[in-house]
Subunit: 542 residues, 2 copies
């Protein structure tokens, strides 16, 4: 099934807002109902593909069949940009400026190599496409004007390299507990295939239902159970990568001292260095027990101190998250229940602690973690908030669609830093968002949670809801800009798990420093000398 | 104190071999007592430094004082090569082919930058020098003939960039549990400084007494307590690096999705990309309890299965290692006790499991781990073997000196792979070493242990003892070559924690693949366009 082209996920799972929430939006944020009519897919005007028959023929040869080179309007619209709020607002408004020239569906590593070759020969750029769930502009390459004096003028065309046909489980090694997966596997498909062997990946980001293995690797994804299973980049043991210069095949041991870790050069490269065509990952036995529970803390500070204590001295739950006062009050910690009478946990901050594993191990871990949480001021709320969180864990993006429909604006952004800097980073980003949007006339609701903890620091994930303003994309831009500046100034990283794409690129360049960026551009020139892959995504074009 | 120039460590800690061992060497391996007279330091002929007064003046300017530019014979001999067995044999024989032109001692990051500038201006190469403990030829650069038509012909001279004056603890953040250390700190100095704040790094490789923080970072070191504290590359959160092109300053959060992890591009770069001038590391509270115990398994296979079970299903001891039958029999698992009647644990394989932490936590972990070890066939041997291992944990290199003195040859090599490949890798490397040396006329004793375990695989560490043969360096070369070939053929990595240097470079190039090497060479050219740093170390010169 394809994802809803104009929003998130499965159209059947749309989550209309309760009247109480609509009332709240109106009274609290000044949200005005707007003409919510979204263009129908078939009404969106898509220009003819700029590809000539020679290019189309070469692409068809690369994938063995013209049926795997799609130039119809619907395919191209469905591969236009990603799923950030500005992306949704633009496509709903019929803006097809970033539409790919074609959608190519290779089925093998060699076909990916052949597609890249064809792109090189015909002056095309290529954008790898997994689940299409980027929220940082990772699917809209810059298309610099041609300066090579070739006949066609105007921006260079690009093709979307959709990896959905590469959706196999290539290998399971039960002794080493590893599995080799193809990049186009959506996470639930991968889990189903692994479950046949008794294994799980344990990677459950909010995009779980739609995102793919290749995307997780390319963007350094982090899932909601990262405390227990680690980040995706920590799960990756081996990678096969198709680049315009040929194949990279890396990873002969879990850890090595043989030079810099080349895996970590590909992870986070967001398709700019090559197309990930196989990923060998660590897998674990499917847990026999899953238990999620709620805790209340008097303040975000107190709750954060408790999370830090567990991250530093253990034991770590498998899932560990903490909503700030506003997010708790609004009930966003449990999106399914938002607007219901008991969604907000009254005062304080809601934390969720979840345990997955064997019966005995989780029981013991839970007991010790509970003692720590209690000693840090936590009040045990039982299983209900945990179960509600688990039930609604993938539904926030559906809620966003409904908010957009109702005339509200909703967007998220995230960062991470070391523990000692967390309070200042929280205050700075919250302040920047609030001040910028308030000054623009639509005071926002800014909510935050910690959802990934490490011994030495944590992530902060912000959700902003406000009125849309006249031009919602333009309205949001200064707030996002101010938040990015606040992140850098407070010592945070520009992204903990969403990635860089085009939206964060200018700040990423400052974070990595000029020499760091030059080093990565040197790698880019080595692997992709013609700049075929994702021009302008992650790295500035030279 | 300086390390023994012709061997390992503190001369006062020399470990003479018991007569029983000498007898064993003679009877078992055909070791013949040899003229063990080692050149006296003052008898070694060192050519005059090739540096002219302009170069020496520029280097003195860079470090502020001519006293920090040393050209005396002793300083230069002490910075000639590292501590592999061939390195020791060569320097003992008075071979000064790889002597540096001078030893430079910068005290700050800016002085390092200035030294690199001076090197660039005067056509010199620079080799960063920490503890000087490389066992893979990481301190002997290739010195290609000058091809730039400059007046001086012959190989390019190089300076040793000794970082010992950069030995401070720059910062401790007790909230985040991080510390920033200078690169020239030896591990015991670093531990002492951290202990004043109640913290430990937990990094205890066999080179612990002499190796430095900068070296750990540059070479992806792994310590004997890696099961509990992780590898050094997992401890590093931030790096400051001086390159010929300027400064890299990386690491704003424990984890990030902002591009590839640049830290992991520097870690393992072995000084070829830049000089690490500060390292921010994760620290942990000094453990209140340390407990090491012995276990016996019937076979290496059975013991390895037990280690795998702990690594995959937990709980992991802080130290976990397993000697094969031969290493157990010889008693090398407890080097201090070698040759004593009870050093060998009779039949089977000796495992050591150690626990560090709080009283309560280690007691519980130990109890659960013991149950697992028992269920896997382990026989509990009590604390004595563990304490003996702990007491002798840094003494094997001293033992090597005595073996060399006694006319024996002793060397180590190591690799890692995924669990399912461990048995074949073990057999292949053992076979290659045994066959090659036996064919050369000196049947060796080949011992092995697993000392680093991961969920998905483990390291294998081999110790080889044999007669020296006529020319011990030449005698060893084909065996080492055969072992390297066996490692690659069996799917292992060419090094788990010793690194690449020059000794492993040709195999590393095959492991990383042509495109991987080209990508790293592109980074090298970006950061060090004149090829000043460590020419030929890690990467082939272009």
């Amino acid at each position: 099934m394809d994802m809803l082209w104009s929003g998130w996920g499965d159209p059947a799972k749309a989550a209309p807002l309760p009247d109480t929430v609509i009332g709240l939006l109106r009274d609290l944020l000044g949200v005005k109902p707007r003409d919510t009519a979204v263009h129908a897919l078939e009404d969106i005007a898509v220009p003819e593909t700029p590809l000539d028959s020679a290019a189309l023929g070469a692409l068809a040869d690369a994938v063995g069949d013209a049926a795997h080179v799609r130039t119809d309007a619907e395919s191209r619209i469905r591969h236009t940009r990603g799923k950030s709020t500005p992306d949704l607002l633009r496509i709903r408004a019929g803006d097809t400026e970033d539409v790919p020239a074609a959608v190519i569906l290779p089925a093998t590593h060699d076909e990916v190599l052949a597609v890249l070759r064809a792109c090189g020969q015909h002056g095309l750029a290529a954008v790898p496409f997994g689940g299409g769930t980027s929220v940082v502009g990772g699917l809209a390459p810059e298309q610099p004007e041609r300066s090579d004096g070739s006949e066609r003028s105007g921006p260079r065309a690009f093709v979307a390299l959709d990896l959905r046909r590469m959706d196999g489980l290539l290998d399971v090694d039960p002794v080493s507990r590893t599995a080799t997966l193809q990049p186009g596997l959506r996470a639930p498909q991968a889990e189903a295939l692994l479950a046949e062997h008794g294994f799980t990946l344990g990677h459950f980001p909010q995009s779980y239902e739609w995102a793919t293995i290749g995307g997780f690797a390319a963007a350094r994804s982090s899932g909601q159970a990262s405390a227990g299973y680690g980040r995706f980049d920590e799960m990756v043991l081996g990678l096969t990568v198709a680049t315009p210069r040929g194949t990279l095949d890396i990873g002969r041991a879990p850890r090595s001292a043989a030079g810099p870790d080349l895996r970590q050069l590909i992870l986070g490269s967001e398709g700019a260095f090559g197309v990930v065509t196989a990923v060998t990952v660590r897998v674990r036995p499917v847990p026999r027990t899953r238990r999620y529970e709620g805790w209340r803390f008097a303040s975000f500070e107190e709750g954060a101190a408790a999370l830090r204590r567990l991250a530093q001295d253990g034991p770590l739950p498998t899932v560990l998250r903490l909503s700030d006062e506003t997010e708790t009050l609004i009930g966003l910690a449990q999106p399914d229940a938002i607007g219901s009478a008991d969604a907000g946990q009254s005062a304080g901050c809601l934390a969720i602690a979840g345990y997955e594993g064997t019966e005995e191990e989780t029981a013991h871990r839970r007991e010790r973690a509970a003692a720590v949480l209690r000693s840090c001021g936590g009040e045990f709320l039982g299983a209900e908030p945990g179960e509600r969180w688990a039930h609604g864990r993938y539904s926030a993006p559906y809620l966003r669609d409904s908010l957009l429909d109702a005339g509200a604006f909703a967007e998220t952004l995230e960062t991470a830093t070391f523990w000692s800097r967390v309070p200042a980073l929280y205050t700075a980003v919250r302040g920047a968002l609030t001040e910028t949007l308030t000054a623009a006339g639509t005071p926002p609701l800014v909510m935050c949670h910690i959802s990934h903890v490490y011994e030495n620091g944590a992530s902060l994930y912000f959700t902003v809801v406000s009125a849309q303003g006249e031009d919602p994309v333009a309205h949001w831009a200064p707030a996002k800009h101010a938040a990015n500046e606040a992140v850098l100034a407070a010592g945070g990283t520009i992204s903990h798990h969403h990635g860089v794409g085009t939206d964060h690129r200018d700040w990423y360049v400052r974070e990595a420093g000029p020499l760091g960026i030059e080093a990565l551009q040197a790698v880019k020139r080595c692997l992709d000398p013609a700049g075929i892959l994702n021009p302008g995504i992650l790295l500035p074009t030279d």
